[in-house]
Symmetry: D2
Subunit: 378 residues, 4 copies
């Protein structure tokens, strides 16, 4: 090579290329300052403050906290200052407009200890509506009847089945829990069927109309279940109590579906019905009515898309926090970044939004401790 005895200029130019001056608003990467007393056995807010400038997902967790605080604390006009027909969304206790917050979570989170944190949010009216997968409904109810246990990801399926232990990741649910659930839910299904039939008889040709009591929706069905379970540890109990609708369009996809399936034999020729059209009307109308809308979506799949799609009805959410482990490379909605939702009008182009790439269980308790539960509710 020509440059054999001197530094090769091609390489030198590439390696030692000079950079433009860094803009003044650039933020330096820093971490925990261990000179401070608060760095020891850290509190959630201190930890989050340090994480914000760490980079990678630590920064995303910090951003998620900022966004959650902002959507929770946003206040608009006072109710007295706005025209009647615009009084569509939510107001705080002092009469100021507040944001409508959609919370989505997958079934596994209710199976895990995250359930208590979700229940806390619903109990204290931190969210406005919930979208859950079917297991996210039934496991909440079943946990009132019997516990779920810690296990291992590697426990072999055959021996678990022999023992009647159902595995969910590193959790175990004894199959007896589902037997107890059947005992609990069948009388309720009977009662609901009765009510539907009575309404149908009364309404006649109008039984299928918009305001009919003859055909229930999943959200109405879930509300009843929350009322019936009547236990303060239940997410659905508080959702019922606080009138927070819980949407689950595919409520049949799990143990409740099994029970409804069995019930079709028992009830024949009558049949309990659950209509999903009226629920899409309901969630979309909430989105349109909202003054501002925030999305907090824990996990992927249906629950993620369903909230995003509802927010398309208002031309985009104003804030969005995704937490999941999905990746975008396979084109799945589960793995799509918030920026994909912006292309669809599901999140506003100028919305504050973030995706945290993490198992929800490792970040959500911390995030809640630094935001919704930074101080004890009165």
């Amino acid at each position: 090579m020509a440059q054999d005895n001197s530094r090769p200029s091609l390489a030198t130019d590439a390696v030692l290329k000079q950079s433009e001056p860094v803009p003044e608003d650039f933020v330096e990467v820093t971490g925990v300052d261990y000179s401070k007393d608060s760095a020891y056995n850290m509190r959630a807010t201190d930890l989050i403050n340090s994480m914000k400038t760490m980079g990678f997902q630590a920064s995303s967790v910090g951003t998620a906290c900022d966004i959650i605080n902002e959507m929770s604390q946003w206040r608009g006009e006072h109710i007295d200052t706005i025209p009647e027909h615009e009084k569509t969304g939510e107001f705080d206790s002092l009469g100021h407009q507040k944001a409508t917050i959609f919370l989505g979570f997958t079934s596994n989170l209710i199976s895990s200890g995250i359930r208590d944190t979700l229940r806390y949010l619903v109990q204290h009216k931190k969210v406005s509506a919930i979208v859950a997968s079917a297991g996210g409904i039934e496991e909440d109810l079943i946990k009132v009847l019997a516990p779920t246990y810690l296990g291992e990801f590697s426990l072999p399926g055959k021996s678990l089945r022999d023992k009647g232990l159902n595995r969910i990741g590193n959790l175990l649910v004894p199959n007896d829990n589902y037997c107890k659930f059947e005992d609990w839910i069948v009388p309720i299904l009977n009662k609901i069927l009765e009510e539907q039939q009575a309404a149908a008889e009364k309404l006649g040709a109008e039984a299928l109309n918009a305001d009919s009591d003859a055909v229930w929706t999943p959200s109405r069905f879930i509300d009843r279940l929350g009322q019936e379970i009547n236990d303060e540890l239940s997410v659905l109990y508080w959702a019922h109590k606080n009138k927070i609708p819980v949407f689950c369009p595919a409520i049949t996809d799990g143990s409740i579906g099994d029970m409804l399936f069995f019930h079709t034999y028992k009830a024949s020729p009558q049949r309990l019905r659950l209509d999903i059209v009226s629920d899409i009307r309901k969630i979309n109308a909430m989105s349109i009515a909202a003054f501002k809308a925030g999305m907090i979506i824990l996990g992927g799949g249906l629950i993620k898309h369903h909230i995003c799609n509802a927010c398309l009805m208002r031309n985009g959410a104003d804030w969005a926090v995704y937490i999941n482990t999905g990746q975008e490379f396979d084109g799945s909605d589960a793995g799509a970044r918030p920026d994909e939702a912006i292309s669809w009008g599901k999140i506003k182009a100028d919305a504050k939004c973030v995706k945290v790439y993490a198992d929800v269980t490792v970040v959500w308790p911390l995030i809640v401790a630094a935001t919704f539960a930074a101080t004890r509710p009165e």
Copy 2:
């Protein structure tokens, strides 16, 4: 250290530990044999044969092909030799029992070019039932009306929204496609509402009963859409034609939901209804009726759980192939291995099952080319 001038015995023992003789049935890892002519511009079956002994996911792809071939080719008793009340499942054209195959796929696969492969399977009756997410229904229909395009994962959402281009991973769907879809579907919705209302009026108090035409299910609704689209490139067209039911409990979770939502305003006070209870009855009954059941699940979320749950009704599928990118560490059902389903009784303990960890688009065309499409259908 004591061993300073000799080889340290602790390390030697650990590093050079002797192994037991390898069992005779152990299979050696090998790859493509490039001494053969078939190693060049390889055919699918040759490639798969080589991959089987490569290890990692190549072996899983090979196993998936074996399982698919086995579930497709399984034949049981002749129809004439079994009692009438046991003639519940499927028979081949010669009258032999065959397996019921449940195919599940997520929306993104219909958006991608995989749609043609899925359509091929349905057209040639390679599968018995389909479970799809909402987008998996509507995108099949929309593609008949207007094309989807290639894009980039990194295209910025804001400028895409400005142009009305919706991004799905590295695909782009012009928003006009959804406008065309509205034009197409609204008259159909009107017609279905009419039919439901007519049936309701006729049935009166029995409008909600099991065999009523007044309340449709998503699968019946989808069958109608397949009939109406009437295009040989459509998966749903062939599903309708070949009487392959398509289940989609959350059919409202997408563009069809948007249209149904708009329709509730237009139709008021009447309302089109879609009941999901009768569909859970239908899919579960298929599972119970099957002589043998195979699952082919492409992607995660609802569609994966729904097929597994249906197979619980028969105490487990006999074969299972999962292909997805989900991971088990977050306890999601999407990421759960087949062995987790065994613990629930959703897959039989002795079933042949495999999970291929891959974006479906990189393996499914190859797998189909080496199995369902190894030879041209007559």
Copy 3:
């Protein structure tokens, strides 16, 4: 179907299969108890205690803390009670045997704010040896010279290159930092070459022998860099100060390599040499000498394998904590679970070990706050 008017028995048996009684030592899944004051703006130890019983990766994080506490707090015999030739490992200040802890981390963690946490561990002698990738060495030094900044994952590469801003995930490093680094390191390289040459001349034919000063290893080279940087924010400064060896067999794979490359032209015909054989001797000897060995491995690739391989020399580590985002399905060592290392004798079969599936930045600050930094060091 035969069962048309009664509940299908096949499904009933499968769904309502009874389970064996749950063993008494099963642990119930629970979450944060929001009735307690400690649930608000939670402290690290309270958060970790709650996470232990949440399941999924929250439980793994809890287990990681338990393991770290155990390896840190393990104490064996007093130095006075053991024979001279067995006094090979580490002792605490009171003379009791303690565990040798190997800490591994990848380059990106030094680029991130995690550097401060790693420095804290080294400063307070919480670990015994370090294995890092090349960037993990140089970025620690460069950060003393100039800062790294927060950026975005989606910033386009071309415009960044035009500005001379190098991207590391969502971090940005101005290229000038590397120019400053060159100014700093070249005189040191000159000095080291001089010292090697002087030793070589003195030793003659024995220049390559085991105890020669003529050929340095990466760990010796790094120790000198730590001495020269002389800054209390530097990990390497404290490693030098506290005589904690830092292993980096591929030290040439990064900016230091660039500088060494340029130096070969400048120094010709002389050449600075870095021998990796003596370093493998050094790390393996540490492993053999240790009374007990713990592994804390943050990230994957070389640094993970290198610590595991060293622990094979002692027939397995006694404790192991992996934190990374790798998956096992591709057969990579990066994604391998601890159980794979057990098959190799790199972790003892009865060792306590865990893998946390997470970006290190979201869990490590919390883990440290609940373990090594639960209380302020005296």
Copy 4:
């Protein structure tokens, strides 16, 4: 709500937003055309052609093939037309400039059946230089001595260790293989040490100089191992034969390291040395000398960064294909997209580059069959 009896305009505008006309160069998403005979038991090139327009990773696989074909087929000036001092890179047999192709792979790929494909590339001089991790060197040699076997990801580590079976993902390597490896390599290490010592004695004070034979590098060491193994199934054999350098800066990180470690005891006070500075000189000089440079990087970690870093020396590679399962969210180099390398000058801003998100084993045999092995070499 005001819009209660008409379609809500906010939603309508958002859902039915019109799109700009699609540019003419947009490519429609399509899949396999099953009307063609070539759609059955497909050939690699037909499959790849179909995959290009499928979207998601199928498109990325198609792009990878295009890039590989382009880098392989690129030809520049004839050797007779360029000045002497510019004749630095590679020429084809007819005397035209060709690209220098760097191939990187991780250890697990050599353990898998991919080894045969890698060997094919080296045997037929399809690549110019290799960067491998330590296991990528030793497993190639060990496979000549004894086979690796198929296993399962879920085999428990303890019972494997008891049997002396080492697990690599779903592969098993009997520990005896490593004993055989020791028998094979120790005489070679003895011989190399002898040669180093003889050179050192001869050179005296110049033993460490640039052109010295007294200190070998990993690449020289590996070349000798390739020569000694002398088996046509070995990658290293062909690398030696075809003078394709194999770089492995951390060659000590594995079984060879174990053997070198043991050898330090045996050889004491002499010591075999492996210097990594001269190898960084060698690989970087190749990059600078290349007329054009292509990168094919299978897997992540060191091998990925090392090739990228070498290409920084020429201000960026001209083509780049990454295939791995890493994700960018944790800021790891393993997961970094090509666009991150562009910010560093490691890939040219206008280079054709792609990352395929997949386990190498599911795509690489197909990619090679459609590119390097589309036709049989003469």
